[in-house]
Symmetry: C2
Subunit: 345 residues, 2 copies
């Protein structure tokens, strides 16, 4: 066995967290809970879905009869624009801070039964365009714009209708703030963005790449915590969503199509994940240390019904994974780029 | 509404992470996945359970006919004692490190159908004694001894038989290392352990206390991320499990009984959680900044079937909670100290 086939740790240079890798453990039997694999046949329109076009939502608002994407303020927003000021910066043990912001829901498509993987590249380009216009609008008011998608019941997603969310606030979240600090530290030392150097390393090593085109690189990062985690990075000097030009948006739509198709094909299911974008803080600064990127955190480990549980040791100590990121990237590369539903129909 | 009923953030001084609190969101309806509430009636002995006394495990080893607790090396250990040396400390982007250690399974009771909540205080004292002797043995060889329990299928626990795990290794895990850094920083500034001061604050404020006795304090911490999270802290200057005397071990058994009983009674179910101990590093140093404590991270939010999903925003940005820690502590305090199964039988 090679040294890297024994237990070892790898460090995530973006947030400073380590992950314990135990490649030999991949063969352990599983007697615990399995997830439901049942995939209901969804209709293209469902009158009681609050995200479908032209329906009335619980609060009395009506959705427009939209045909591409549609954004509205979350009826149960975790953030409000007018939270009163509180601050106790001097109270080290019980530190509180105001959180002012907003939370929006973004429907990716009027069709209730679609997922990103099943949408066309022009439709995905519309999703990317909406992400950009939302980013441009919200970055006028807020420093931290968290665009994300929870996909699948297993990820706590309460609606199958294809949608994501955008939460925006003045403060930097814990994770964005850690990534900001680590990227700034690297830049100070090397005069190069951390992710620029990382992209170069991955292009040289060719072992963890899942998809690439002229503008984007998708890898299972060296420090991946989730079994089939993907890091999607802009190859040019792009710091936030506002910087993307037309060609970069189309090529983003196309790599999104490929990533989500490979995901669905891996275990022949509507592959669940949380994904989201990390933009440079919209703080009026240059942020030359930042590189726009997205993380995909999918929970499945071995099949459509066996997921990786980040519990016990992972909550109290650090993330742990069984198969290596290199093996995971290899498995994803071997999937087809034709969606399994197309093949079977 | 009070300022703290609006969205705000609170900071965990032990690890430096913030949590977003959105108290007004507690009333939002839930249309997503629910968890199975079905609780099988378990037998006291199950011949095909690998943790029951006197059974043969898959690898051919036989369990002794034990009557209190029983510890053995995990048949699929995530850590091995003889992993070869690897190190790439100078490679900032792809940093690797050896992980040498061991992983053990610890049966809490020979009875297949028991949980900590349903065991007697003398039986729980046996569990505490075994934690101590394991700590004492393993701290001879390793700096970081992670004692933990995953309880419930929802927590990825593959065996209902009451058991925990102990993973020990030379390196400090990410979380223990963060807690070490923050506690050391606080001590340097105040000449007092962070958790000593925190215990005093909680005893004064009386709003987040769930249980207390002469030696232990259990609170829903000010910075709790999980809905009914509990921090259990030693009240005396105890730095690791080796320091506990006989009285402190008995009073620990008794507070464990109370905490787990309140948990089970909250939603009248075998309350799932991950819990574990954070000891000072066994590094031969004084560690006067440390205070021995345990974290309970339970996922349930509103009932036996509705859990909090730490997904999307939480994975990409920071933890988010709906009800305040003060409300959660109040709800736990209102539960009975007689286990619901005793009442109903
Ligand atoms: O060792 P077990 O119970 O089989 O496995 C469980 O606990 C481990 C330690 O927290 C986790 O790494 C696994 O993901 C989880 O399924
Ligand atoms: O907003 P939703 O989809 O109802 O809720 C889901 O996503 C949120 C943002 O990640 C989480 O805080 C919730 O726990 C989850 O259930």
């Amino acid at each position: 066995m090679q040294p890297m086939e024994f237990p070892h740790r790898r460090r995530n240079p973006l947030n400073g967290q380590w992950v314990l890798v135990s490649p030999h453990r991949n063969n352990r039997p599983w007697h615990g809970a399995t997830e439901a694999a049942f995939e209901p046949d969804l209709p293209a329109f469902k009158a009681d879905c609050p995200l479908c076009p032209a329906v009335e939502r619980a609060n009395g608002d009506s959705n427009p009869d939209y045909s591409e994407t549609f954004v509205f303020t979350n009826d149960f927003a975790a953030l409000l624009e007018d939270s009163p000021e509180v601050s106790s910066a001097s109270d080290e043990l019980m530190q509180v801070e105001t959180a002012q912001g907003c939370a929006r829901v973004m429907c990716f498509s009027p069709e209730h039964d679609k997922t990103l993987a099943e949408m066309t590249v022009p439709q995905l380009t519309q999703v990317v365009n909406t992400w950009q216009s939302q980013y441009q609008e919200l970055s006028q008011s807020y420093a931290c714009i968290q665009i994300f998608e929870n996909k699948g019941e297993i990820m706590g997603c309460s609606q199958p209708h294809p949608h994501g969310q955008i939460w925006a606030h003045h403060h930097l979240s814990s994770e964005v703030s850690a990534e900001d600090r680590h990227q700034a530290g690297y830049y100070l030392q090397h005069d190069r963005p951390l992710l620029a150097d990382y992209v170069e390393r991955e292009l040289n090593e060719q072992t963890r790449i899942v998809e690439q085109n002229d503008d984007w690189l998708a890898v299972v990062p060296f420090w991946a915590a989730w079994p089939f985690e993907i890091l999607l990075v802009a190859r040019a000097d792009i710091r936030d969503f506002g910087d993307l030009d037309k060609a970069q948006k189309t090529s983003l739509a196309s790599i999104l199509k490929n990533i989500t198709t490979r995901y669905d094909n891996l275990f022949q299911c509507r592959f669940p994940y949380s994904m989201g974008w990390h933009n440079a803080p919209a703080n009026g600064q240059d942020n030359c240390h930042w590189r726009l990127h997205a993380h995909f955190y999918p929970p499945l480990l071995r099949s459509a019904t066996i997921k990786k549980h980040m519990v016990g040791y992972e909550m109290l100590a650090e993330s742990q994974r069984d198969l290596t990121p290199e093996k995971a990237a290899g498995a994803l590369r071997q999937t087809s780029l034709t969606h399994y539903k197309e093949t079977s129909s």
